[in-house]
């Protein structure tokens, strides 16, 4: 009973009243005062005065005791508000304020636990969003951006500062993306579309309306399909190229056969000429089919390489001999620069000779007159640009085939190692070739764990490099 506040206030006052009125009654009963109304009045006044003063003092003391825990509570709450979530009141009695403080402490404990759980959940979501490859934008019902992840910022070229809290149109910018978003806003249904945002950015965009606890948010997901699209282009080009490459000799064969049928057979000299033409076309077709088979064998890894330590000179000399006559005829200088102290390389000689063969063949083909240089050097002696290309590779020897020919346009350079890719069809036609040489070269070099690349300036010539590991 005594722990209750009202008794702790009431009892002191009751004692006070009893004590003072007792003393007053006692004094009034003394012989000095008895029968003297003046003394009696004074005694009563003094008693009342003492009671009043003591009551005020008591009230001050008691109220201070009551307000102290409240002040502590205010202080603790302020500390919590200013970020110290561990602020608690450790001192409390068993009265009502004590009870209140205990409950208050429990409330704060529970809250901070919930906050911890929510924070953890939010952090998890944030890291998922941050490391996702797809772009994600979350917009509220009015179309203001609430969240945007790094992938979305990268794809759309924006920053958090520019996007957050601004209308989503300012972030999307592209008319098809905005159109998709508007359509979703109108129809309240998921919208999907493939959008070409720039020449080198192809996105699949999904805009979904999500009802979340009574309020609508929009989720925009952007998937980068650029690579897939590029692969598709390569595949499509390959099909159209191979059809074209097969059709040309076939059409020519057909013309020859028809001419022979129409009477050229009766004219032996003409017939011989036509037959040799037919033979040439058949050779071209055969060579192409063989190279295709070869390519698919190398690509699928069915051709085991017979690697052995080989001198670089042996890899270059033999293919070059075959081109000497052709170079003399075309008035092209064939220069070889191989230092004597080159380390041996790990190579399948016949395969690498094929690479050199293809590269030199190309160089001669695109150099009407001038110079074709085949050189070799250790990676440590290589110029800086070459060393950069070899960053991270084991010690290697680089073989370079440089020409002073027509060169390759910059926009074609990344694609020349694709099957059938020919930089300028009008220009390369009539120079023969199946369009597979560089693709084969690349696969052979890669099977050797080497690297192959090209540099070129239009009109100045091209240089093809490939590297082979030293043994």
């Amino acid at each position: 009973m005594l722990s209750q506040l009202r008794w702790r206030i009431a009892i002191p006052f009751a004692i006070l009243v009893l004590l003072v009125s007792g003393i007053t009654a006692y004094v009034a009963n003394q012989p000095v005062c008895r029968g003297d109304p003046a003394c009696l009045r004074i005694t009563l006044w003094v008693g009342a005065g003492v009671m009043a003063i003591t009551a005020v003092t008591l009230a001050f003391i008691l109220s201070a005791r009551i307000t102290r825990p409240i002040k502590e509570l205010t202080g603790a709450t302020q500390r919590i508000l200013s970020g110290d979530r561990h602020a608690r009141i450790m001192r409390y009695g068993r009265d009502e304020t004590g009870e209140f403080i205990r409950t208050y402490n429990q409330l704060i404990d529970q809250d901070s636990q919930i906050i911890n759980e929510l924070t953890e959940e939010r952090d998890q979501l944030a890291s998922v969003l941050a490391y996702m490859a797809d772009g994600v934008i979350i917009a509220d019902a009015y179309g203001y951006v609430r969240q945007v992840n790094p992938a979305a910022m990268r794809l759309l070229g924006t920053t958090e500062k520019k996007a957050l809290g601004r209308p989503i149109a300012e972030t999307l910018r592209h008319h098809q993306l905005i159109g998709l978003w508007q359509q979703c806003q109108r129809e309240k249904e998921e919208q999907i579309a493939a959008v070409e945002v720039g020449r080198d950015l192809f996105l699949q965009a999904v805009v979904t309306p999500v009802m979340r606890r009574g309020s609508l948010v929009y989720l925009v997901i952007l998937q980068d399909l650029t690579t897939i699209r590029r692969l598709e282009t390569i595949r499509r080009d390959f099909i159209s190229n191979i059809s074209h490459e097969l059709r040309t000799p076939l059409a020519s064969l057909r013309a020859v056969v028809e001419t022979l049928q129409d009477g050229a057979l009766a004219d032996p000299p003409a017939a011989t000429r036509f037959l040799s033409r037919a033979e040439h076309e058949v050779d071209t077709l055969t060579q192409m089919v063989e190279e295709l088979l070869e390519l698919s064998r190398i690509e699928s890894g069915r051709v085991p390489l017979k690697l052995s330590a080989t001198a670089v000179r042996d890899l270059i000399q033999q293919p070059l001999e075959r081109f000497r006559a052709q170079a003399r005829r075309d008035e092209v200088q064939l220069v070889v620069k191989i230092p004597d102290d080159l380390p041996l390389v790990l190579a399948d000689a016949s395969r690498v000779q094929q690479v050199v063969n293809n590269l030199v063949h190309n160089a001669l083909k695109f150099t009407p007159h001038g110079e074709v240089t085949v050189s070799a050097f250790a990676d440590s002696d290589a110029p800086r640009a070459v060393r950069d290309k070899l960053a991270g590779a084991p010690p290697s020897v680089v073989i370079a085939v440089a020409d002073t020919g027509v060169g390759i346009p910059a926009e074609d350079l990344p694609r020349i190692f694709e099957r059938f890719y020919k930089s300028d069809r009008a220009r390369t036609r009539g120079r023969g070739g199946t369009g597979l040489g560089l693709a084969i070269a690349r696969h052979i070099v890669q099977a050797h764990n080497g690297r192959i690349w090209a540099e070129s300036k239009e009109g100045k010539g091209s240089t093809f490099y490939f590297s082979l590991r030293t043994s």
Binding site: P167, H175, G179, Q182
Partner: protein
């Protein structure tokens, strides 16, 4: 609180303009590509879509007038509203030029296009880029960027001259090309005008940022 509402309205207004400009950007490129591939369906769509752009402009204009009447904006806010109104008008005109190119495509029928049409596409792509960057400058309130975009109009003019020469050469080599070359000349002229309009938009952005209404000379250097 009323300030907050007004600011929200200004943001929405800016968004309307941005949506309109993104549409015009798309239409500029689409109309040139349709011309290159003799894609009549696409051109027809673009011609019909012009009505939407006109409606979009009217909507923007009405919103601007409503804001001026009800909020009595001052200084920067007033400049923003008038700038949006003017830029909206320029965008509407640019889209008319895109529509003009689409009409030329329909006139040309299915005859194979002269090679100069590739440069026309490049011109449209340049114009689109200028417009995108111009709107970036608008969003960022960046006068220097607006100057830079304005200066890029010279590239469009250069392409225009190039196309004119190529088309003349095409006529000289084969008189039968005259009709097509003449029409392509018109298409190029349309795009060249579109570039000038984008220049006007840039002037308006400079006004919005600095409060100075100036006519930028071509190939101006940023201060």
């Amino acid at each position: 609180m009323t300030r907050g509402v007004f600011e929200h309205q200004l943001e929405k207004l800016q968004e309307l303009l941005l949506i309109m400009s993104s549409q015009v950007e798309g239409n500029l490129v689409a109309t040139a590509v349709a011309l290159q591939h003799a894609d009549h369906t696409r051109s027809q769509e673009l011609i019909e879509a012009d009505a939407h752009m006109n409606a979009a402009y009217i909507h923007i204009e009405q919103t601007c007038l409503g804001l001026i009447a009800t909020q009595q904006p001052k200084a920067r806010d007033l400049r923003l509203i008038t700038a949006v109104m003017t830029i909206g008008g320029e965008l509407e005109r640019i889209n008319d030029y895109a529509k003009g190119v689409a009409k030329i495509n329909l006139h040309l029928g299915h005859e194979p296009r002269l090679t100069a049409v590739a440069d026309l596409c490049a011109m449209a792509e340049k114009a689109r880029l200028m417009l995108t960057q111009g709107m970036n400058a608008f969003l960022a309130r960046d006068a220097a960027q607006a100057y830079a975009v304005h200066a890029a109009d010279a590239e469009i003019d250069a392409l225009y001259t190039q196309i004119q020469q190529d088309l003349l050469a095409a006529i000289l080599t084969n008189v039968q090309h005259t009709t097509q070359a003449n029409k392509l000349m018109w298409a190029a002229h349309n795009l060249e005008r579109a570039g000038d309009r984008i220049g006007n938009i840039c002037e308006r952005i400079v006004f919005l940022v600095t409060g100075e209404l100036i006519e930028l000379p071509t190939a101006v250097r940023p201060p």
